[in-house]
Amino acid sequence: MTARNAQERLLDVKGLTVEIDGRRGPAVIVDGIDLHVGKGETLGVVGESGCGKSLTMLSLMRLLPNKIKVTKGTAEFDGRDLHKMSTRELRKVRGGDIGFVFQDPMTSLNPVMRIGDQLCEPLIYHRKMAKADARKRAVELLRLVGIPGPEERLEAYPHELSGGMRQRVMIAIGLACDPKLLIADEPTTALDVTIQAQIVDLVKDLRNKLGMSVVWITHDLALIAGLADRVVVLYAGTVVEDAPVDDLYANPSHPYTRGLLASIPTLSDAPTARLSSIGGTPPEPGRRPAGCPFAPRCPLAMDICRREVPKLEPISSGGSHRAACFAVNKALKAA
């Protein structure tokens, strides 16, 4: 491989399809997603609740719940397909090469285990550290994520910590083995705004310091503006837009992305201005319309949108900005 740069892909997901075997027959939840993350790059994954963000990430680690399965696609991490690895190899990747921070800090820590023991677990398991060394490292990690009095905190149980502290502990656990990739699944939704900002700053600092790649999942576009290098917008299990973060904000193309950005209040808005939001709700898995999944809610929808599925196509000269929308492509060709 060539020298280290953002083009060198650490994670490369192609055509990932996830289906649920539900009561009303099988339904597609994630529909042929393409994603890639370069070394040292931070990817923001944005989308409404229920669009399949968590399941996409869980499927990478083969952690999907019962009855939900990957049916198509590949997911290469560091050149190896995660879906074809033996369970043994996969265990080394989980927690070792890929750290995971979960959505809900209140329920993602084992309630009957001390913080210190939970932090030491991956160190002992992956790094084969002795207990005493692992505890020293655990103290370092807690200090790294900005938890005061780390020595005492090792002895605490999760219910003795506040939500923000628990989320920091989860990040510390995710970082324990110096992962090449940190996947953070809405790590701040459960927290209040000031703590959200602290956590974002924390991950930014850690990323710059440790040089790891990050996938940051959120439904809050504003939150990742200062954090992500590139953003992928998901809608109903498909990628609708993929762009470098500045391009996305300067030139949002897909009607859904524009809707998302319009629903972020800005300082220049008059205090009385009504927040715009996208009307309607996303389709349930299994009740996806034919053609463009966004068509029922789209102000620009045309006939073709209800018949054919738009492909993700480059809309900038370099090809780094892509969108899946007939209206956008038509406008480009007309131009």
């Binding site: 680690m61 995971f100 656990i173």
Partner: protein, 319 residues
């Protein structure tokens, strides 16, 4: 860049207390539970050190002193054979604990194993095991036990006799073991289903908790996840139901002895003492009152303790 400094205002200050110590604190505030615990500990002590506490042997008869009312010499009086009732109640405690502990242990092992298999491995095991459980629960308990005892006791006794004749091994003469074997066995047979259901439900709900997925995302092995994540989280409700189960087993044993299918005389058991006492209670009420009181005390104590543990181990439950 420097690391973000934590904002001291957002740190909650709480004294670090462990989950179990927390539970202990809550238990201590519950007077009934402490009463239950005290009685249970006392009875356990009596059961273990029984022979050293009793003034008389539980079998020694004193026909000159039959049916005496309670006195300093005989705290609970004497029975129709002149045996000291206090000594017999003390030995009965031993029988009650032996039966309760052994039966609960067997039922717990069967129930936990089947429940964990059903919950963890799912279909087809789940369906088969739950079917077995429902079936075991739908048979009237007393009926089952009476049938087992009535139909099995004689064949086993005959088989033991034949074995003795063939081998001359004195082990086969000890018919008391048939008793215990049948009592323990049949009681365990009707006691395991609630444990199986409880453990299955626990495993099913814990398996889908986010912290299990989080543990898997750390690459931990199934064995570690089972031992350190699933089992400890399932333990609370199990401890509660074991405490209640011990009390139930004692009452059950008394009920069986009362019906004549429990531990046979002359081994003292509260149940057979109550059964004997009931025949003469109009003349000698103490013969009924002493064992009945102790049985009631034990069963109330276990249920108070169970309730107390339930509240103590559920921080989110009622205070």
């Amino acid at each position: 860049m420097t690391l973000v400094q934590p904002n001291p205002a957002i740190i909650e200050e709480e004294p670090p207390v462990s989950l179990w110590r927390d539970a202990w604190h809550r238990l201590r505030r519950n007077k009934l539970a402490i009463f239950g615990l005290g009685v249970v500990v006392l009875l356990a002590f009596v059961a273990i050190s029984g022979p050293y506490l009793t003034p008389y042997d539980f079998l020694s008869q004193d026909l000159a002193a039959r049916n005496q009312a309670p006195s300093l010499a005989h705290l609970f009086g004497t029975d129709d054979l002149g045996r000291d009732v206090f000594s017999r109640v003390v030995y009965g405690t031993r029988t009650a604990f032996l039966v309760a502990v052994v039966v609960t242990a067997i039922a717990l092992v069967i129930g936990t194993t089947l429940g964990a298999i059903a919950g963890f491995f799912g279909e087809p095991y789940d369906r088969i095991i739950m079917w077995l459980t429902d079936m075991a629960m739908s048979v009237p308990n007393l009926l089952l036990v009476v049938v087992i005892n009535a139909s099995l006791k004689n064949p086993i006794a005959r088989w033991m006799e034949a074995q003795y004749m063939a081998t001359l091994n004195p082990f086969y003469r000890e018919t008391i073991w048939i008793d215990f074997f049948l009592v323990f066995g049949s009681m365990a047979l009707i006691s395991w289903p609630p444990y199986a259901r409880l453990v299955r439900a626990q495993v099913l709900s814990i398996r889908t908790r986010p912290y299990i997925t989080a543990a898997m995302a750390l690459g931990l092995s199934n064995r570690i996840i089972m031992m350190r994540y699933v089992v400890p989280n399932a333990l609370g409700p199990l401890i509660v139901s074991v405490s209640a189960g011990l009390g139930t087993a004692m009452v059950l044993e008394s009920a069986f002895s009362f019906l004549g299918v429990g531990v046979n005389p002359p081994t003292p058991s509260w149940g057979n003492m109550i059964s004997d006492g009931l025949r003469v209670w109009q003349h000698y009420p103490h013969l009924l009152a002493a064992p009945a009181f102790v049985l009631g005390l034990a069963s109330v104590a276990f249920s108070f303790l169970g309730d107390g543990l339930n509240d103590a181990l559920n921080p989110r439950g009622t205070k």
